[in-house]
């Protein structure tokens, strides 16, 4: 990376909001880290498949955050959005004017991170912001942190349970050039709450974009959190996203990660289980074609006894696409009676498609149950023949089997309208692929 690009990023960073108090200190410290660490190169084991260094080019812009109207967003709104709280990022900047807060203030706090850092929630920001850095000590994470001044703070207040979802749209506007977006969210879920939050990543225009995102969530005692990430960006989009979930009380967290498109997508998902008897579920589905690469890196950190985690990631890889899965499970010395399951299943459709899968278990306790498994294969020939022998054409038989393969991930989206929405995206994609194949 050239000095010119670093200078350009530095200049941009120094003009962002949040230039006082803790946030200024945090972002400046992160900027210094970014300068020290640089961009992870391919020789970095964690970044073997995801080549990000080529994304840092002089023509990258940071957007103005003002180029997008509510009408531009309409095509990307999630189901029943009229009932939901909709929070919008444009080119990585939280955009209050485009957001719709449909929960009341007693239930939900929403504000720019820069305001939260100086107001009544300052101590919370100080306590939680940047917790993910320890799990990903690299320049890309540091760079996002350096831009936290344009980020978002959300807090679900104690005792509040609702069916109304919270939708976060992360929109990169590529219509006027290569855009670099760095959304950052700190999402606190107080005790005895139930919440459903979905992030939707999309691109406006068909130009190049690079989104480098960090979403930190902290769930307290007796919280039930459902998190869904839908990555459906343009064909020239690159994406590095980190979802960092902490359980600071005994609670239940479900995460579903759906990756549908883009040029290169890296999803990091961390589940940090800090308290006994925590439960977490992590599910992922990648549906890829062209030369798309999707790299899912997950971490489950079992710090205390009796925690349970369950992880299943699936990928359908068509054409020359590449799927990567790296699943780390840490069981610390005190975390006896941990139950941790991990599974990764891949179906290769394309002749040039490939899957790379790597479980990584580090267990320091002696009374635990941990298992992992992975499969890479073609579509089941016998099942294909069975369906065709009943009159289904080759293309519909294939779509049916692939949809069935995806179904147990889709079923993990508890919010029904959203599940149907994602199901429709998946069905459309399978039909599209079939059309291509014919």
């Amino acid at each position: 990376m050239s000095q010119t690009i670093i200078d350009k990023i530095t200049e941009q960073q120094s003009n962002l909001p949040g230039r006082e108090g803790f946030l200024a200190e945090f972002t400046d410290r992160s900027m210094a880290e970014f300068r020290r660490l640089g961009i992870p190169a391919v020789k970095h084991e964690e970044w073997r498949y995801t080549r990000v260094s080529g994304l840092f080019r002089l023509e990258m812009g940071f957007g103005t955050g003002t180029s997008v109207t509510a009408a531009d967003i309409d095509a990307h709104r999630l189901p029943d959005h009229e009932e939901a709280t909709e929070l919008v990022f444009i080119d990585g900047r939280f955009a209050p004017a485009l957001s719709n807060i449909r929960h009341n203030e007693k239930e939900l706090v929403v504000m720019p991170l820069s305001d939260a850092a100086t107001g009544e929630h300052a101590d919370k920001i100080r306590a939680h912001l940047g917790h993910s850095a320890a799990y990903h000590p690299d320049g890309i994470q540091a760079l996002n942190a350096a831009f936290a001044g344009i980020g978002l703070f959300v807090m679900v207040r104690k005792g509040f349970a609702t069916e109304k979802p919270i939708y976060i749209y992360c929109i990169a506007d590529s219509r006027t050039g290569y855009v670099f977006a760095q959304p950052r969210t700190l999402f606190l879920v107080e005790a005895a709450t139930q919440v459903m939050v979905a992030e939707h990543y999309v691109t406006l225009g068909s130009g190049e974009s690079f989104t480098n995102e960090v979403f930190e969530l902290c769930a307290e005692q007796d919280a039930v959190v459902e998190y869904v990430k839908i990555q459906d960006e343009g064909p020239m989009a690159s994406h590095v996203g980190t979802t960092h979930v902490r359980q600071t009380g005994r609670c239940l967290t479900n995460a579903v990660t759906i990756s549908l498109s883009g040029r290169m997508v890296r999803n990091n998902l961390n589940m940090v289980m800090e308290v006994e008897h925590g439960e977490s579920h992590m599910h992922g589905l990648s549906l890829l074609n062209g030369e798309t690469l999707v790299d899912n890196h997950t971490i489950v950190d079992n710090m205390q006894p009796h925690c349970q985690s369950n992880e299943l990631y699936k990928a359908v890889l068509d054409e020359a696409s590449t799927g990567v899965f790296n699943g780390k499970i840490f069981v610390r010395k005190d975390a006896q009676k941990t139950n941790a399951y991990q599974s990764n299943k891949n179906i290769l459709i394309g002749e040039k498609a490939s899957a790379n899968t790597k479980p990584q278990l580090e267990i320091f306790a002696d009374d635990v149950k941990c298992s992992h498994g992975c499969t890479v294969g073609r579509l089941d020939e016998e099942a294909m023949f069975y369906l065709r022998a009943r009159g289904l054409g080759e293309a519909s038989a294939r779509a049916l089997l692939l949809h069935a393969f995806a179904a147990d991930i889709l079923d993990r989206i508890g919010h029904e309208p959203l599940r149907r929405y994602v199901d429709r995206l998946v069905s459309q994609r399978l039909a599209y692929d079939i059309h291509n194949g014919q």
């Binding site: 023949f385 065709r388 022998a389």
Partner: protein, 256 residues
């Protein structure tokens, strides 16, 4: 309806079917019996279009068309049905959704409108009764976790839904207890008509007590070595397959 002439097929270098000759007319029920490895299931698979087998000679005409040139789905759409010996489990697909897709694919092929939800449900309810299959079973993933008997009943249910002209039952009786066997046979009997035909592949005479065949053929080493009426099945049951083997070996020796 079906005219098989000198059909030869095999896997790689091994020839399994070595000149099958068989004609089936509408309304007939044929049974093919034979010891293990005689080629019974291969015949069923080749007729249904399983690509594992290579046809090396002969011809098969079905409803006046060259069957061997058709894809498996076109065979099904033309009215051929194979009840699998080992029905495949498909997680994530309910039998109801699957059979609806299949029924409508067949209808489309015939130039008919797809069945609407009400008509489909009505047809389904009616056909479910034939094999005493339960709605809850059909809402579950196709064959997943079904018992052997449930899977076979599901096959016959699907057959009843698709109304094929020729149904091939590949060892549908294997692994069935007597009650399941009776239910399955009863379902088949109710589907019998003057316009459709059955080819029942079985190792044992047992099933034929419930589904009375018009013709019985004995397959041995890839050829039909004897054909007769249902009495042939009884003779086979009484004397076992060894009598065929001995008879044929004696004949072979006499030739030499």
């Amino acid at each position: 309806m079906l005219n098989i002439q000198d059909l030869r097929a095999g896997i790689e270098e091994m020839e399994i079917l070595r000149g099958i000759i068989l004609q089936i007319r509408p309304g007939e029920v044929h049974a093919i019996m034979g010891p293990n490895g005689s080629g019974k299931s291969t015949l069923a698979s080749v007729l249904a279009g399983r690509s594992d087998f290579e046809v090396t000679g002969g011809s098969v005409e079905f409803m006046g068309k060259n069957l061997l040139e058709m894809s498996p789905e076109d065979r099904a759409r033309e009215g051929l049905f194979l009840a699998f010996q080992y029905p495949v489990e498909i997680p994530g697909v309910s039998t109801t959704n699957f059979i609806k897709t299949a029924v409508n694919e067949v209808r489309k092929h015939r130039g008919e409108e797809p069945l609407d939800a009400v008509a489909f449900l009505k047809l389904m309810k009616e056909r479910m009764k034939l094999v005493q299959i339960d709605q809850s079973l059909l809402s579950r993933s196709l064959n997943e976790g079904f018992s052997g008997g449930e899977k076979k009943r599901n096959e016959i249910f699907q057959m009843a839904m698709l109304e094929p002209k020729l149904a091939i039952l590949d060892e549908t009786d294997s692994g069935l207890d007597i009650d399941a066997l009776r239910i399955v046979a009863n379902g088949v009997n109710q589907c019998r008509g003057k316009d459709n035909a059955f080819l029942i592949v079985t190792h044992y005479q047992r099933l034929l007590e419930y589904i009375e065949p018009d013709y019985v053929h004995i397959l041995y080493k890839g050829r039909i070595v004897r054909s007769g009426t249902k009495e042939l099945a009884l003779e086979l049951e009484e004397k076992g397959y060894d009598f065929i083997k001995t008879e044929l070996e004696t004949a072979d020796q006499a030739q030499q």
